[in-house]
């Protein structure tokens, strides 16, 4: 017992120190926006799986592909809102071209933007579209 107390105190001190130090070094430590969206969709009962990282030649930010009920959901997170807005402004209302790139999507695109995030859902499931609109606002481009 005499030995246990100092060890316990030592552990607590180390823990507090680690906790405080981590908070100071990583003040923005929290789930990434893409994963936050995925968690939200899962919480709504949708089957959401991570698929792969992605880079689109017509977007400045790298992205992440998830599958939502088997359909692709591409999430691009920019360093700033203005950077996301700049790329979003180049997307045609149909969602079929971005700037001077015409995109032959595998399924009808539905494109959303919220803050520094551009989200592309490739599919036609009205439930998924509704959940994305609830989370991100109305789509900014894409199929009706």
């Amino acid at each position: 017992m005499r030995m246990a107390l100092p060890i316990l105190v030592g552990l607590c001190a180390a823990s507090a120190c680690l906790s405080r130090g981590t908070a100071e070094r990583l003040p923005s430590l929290r789930p990434l926006p893409a994963e936050e969206l995925a968690k939200r969709l899962r919480a709504r009962g949708l089957q959401v799986e991570y698929a792969n990282a992605i880079e689109q030649p017509f977007f400045a930010a790298p992205g992440t592909v998830y599958t939502v009920e088997g359909a692709d959901l591409q999430i691009f997170v920019y360093s700033t809102e203005s950077a996301a807005a700049a790329d979003a402004s180049r997307i045609a209302p149909s969602g079929r071209s971005v700037g001077t790139s015409a995109v032959g999507w595998i399924a009808p695109p539905h494109i959303f933007r919220k803050g520094p995030m551009i989200v592309i859902y490739l599919g036609s499931d009205s439930r998924i579209r509704g959940e994305l609109a609830a989370a991100l606002g109305n789509q900014i481009a894409g199929a009706e």
Binding site: I54, S94, R96, S101
Partner: protein, 273 residues
């Protein structure tokens, strides 16, 4: 109904130019600048054997236009399907699970003049049973090349207008359908509209003025770059010139890697005339 001047004019246009009145799928007014019609556009063939038939069909289809001819040349792009000034480069590759079957990109100068184009078809999908059928391959190849000519989609609702510029999908129960696998008259009419004017200059790599020795040239190493005409003070960048006479030159801009690195130098080629 009274015949207002506007209605009379519309009736005249529709009866006089019935097909032109329907043509309305220009992509942002983008077009190749040229000084005469018909013009010849070089298309670099970078596709593998699996795509050759569909590439050939697409070239033949679009060359049926009365305002342009597509002239196939050896592909001069690289694995990234980099653009080559004055040409369209067509490539296939497994570009990954990125959501697109095909991607057409163009570069613009002066607001609407196309200076170069690339077409990529994505084998990540076409190597799967869902997309691997002749009709879908024809549809996508035809559509992406059509974009580089200045055409947009005719529709995006998934219905077929029997043109490759629509968004019909030749997959699943439609895999055997030949609908939407070629351009239709509407597309040729739109090309007539887009290219009805002439420009004062050209952005098309000339098929006739460039010496044949400049064609299909593989510029793989310093031995093919010609003479060094410029070098930066720090020695990191150089410009080489290969002179074909009569003002025809290939300039190669080289950014050297560290001398003790095994990396190849980054370089850019520019055809000059």
């Amino acid at each position: 109904m009274s015949l207002t001047p506007r209605r009379v004019l519309l009736a005249f246009l529709v009866t006089t130019f019935p097909s032109m009145a329907l043509a309305n799928h220009s992509w942002g007014g983008y077009h190749w600048a040229r000084t005469s019609n018909p013009f010849t556009l070089k298309v670099g063939n970078n596709v593998n054997a699996g795509w050759q038939t569909y590439f050939d069909t697409t070239i033949s289809d679009w060359s049926a236009s009365s305002v342009l001819d597509l002239n196939v040349v050896a592909g001069t792009s690289n694995k990234h399907c980099s653009a080559v000034t004055g040409t369209v480069q067509v490539c296939n590759r497994r570009y990954g699970n990125n959501g697109w079957l095909g991607l057409a990109s163009i570069s613009i100068t002066g607001g609407t003049h196309i200076t170069q184009g690339t077409v990529k078809v994505n084998d990540t999908y076409f190597d799967t049973s869902t997309y691997n059928n002749p009709n879908e391959r024809n549809h996508v190849m035809c559509q992406e090349v059509g974009h580089t000519l200045g055409l947009d989609h005719t529709s995006t609702d998934g219905s077929s207008q029997n043109t490759c510029m629509d968004y019909y999908s030749n997959t699943g129960s439609n895999a055997g359908s030949t609908l939407s696998t070629h351009p239709n008259q509407h597309d040729y009419d739109e090309l007539n509209v887009i290219y009805s004017h002439l420009d004062s200059s050209t952005t098309v790599l000339s098929a006739t003025v460039m010496p044949s020795a400049m064609e299909d040239l593989l510029i793989e190493g310093p031995g093919q770059w010609g003479r060094e005409i410029e070098r930066s003070e720090d020695g990191r960048t150089s410009t080489f010139e290969l002179d074909f006479g009569h003002g025809n030159r290939i300039l190669t801009f080289v950014t050297w890697a560290d001398r003790d690195s095994t990396d190849i130098p980054e370089r850019r080629n520019l055809l000059m005339r």
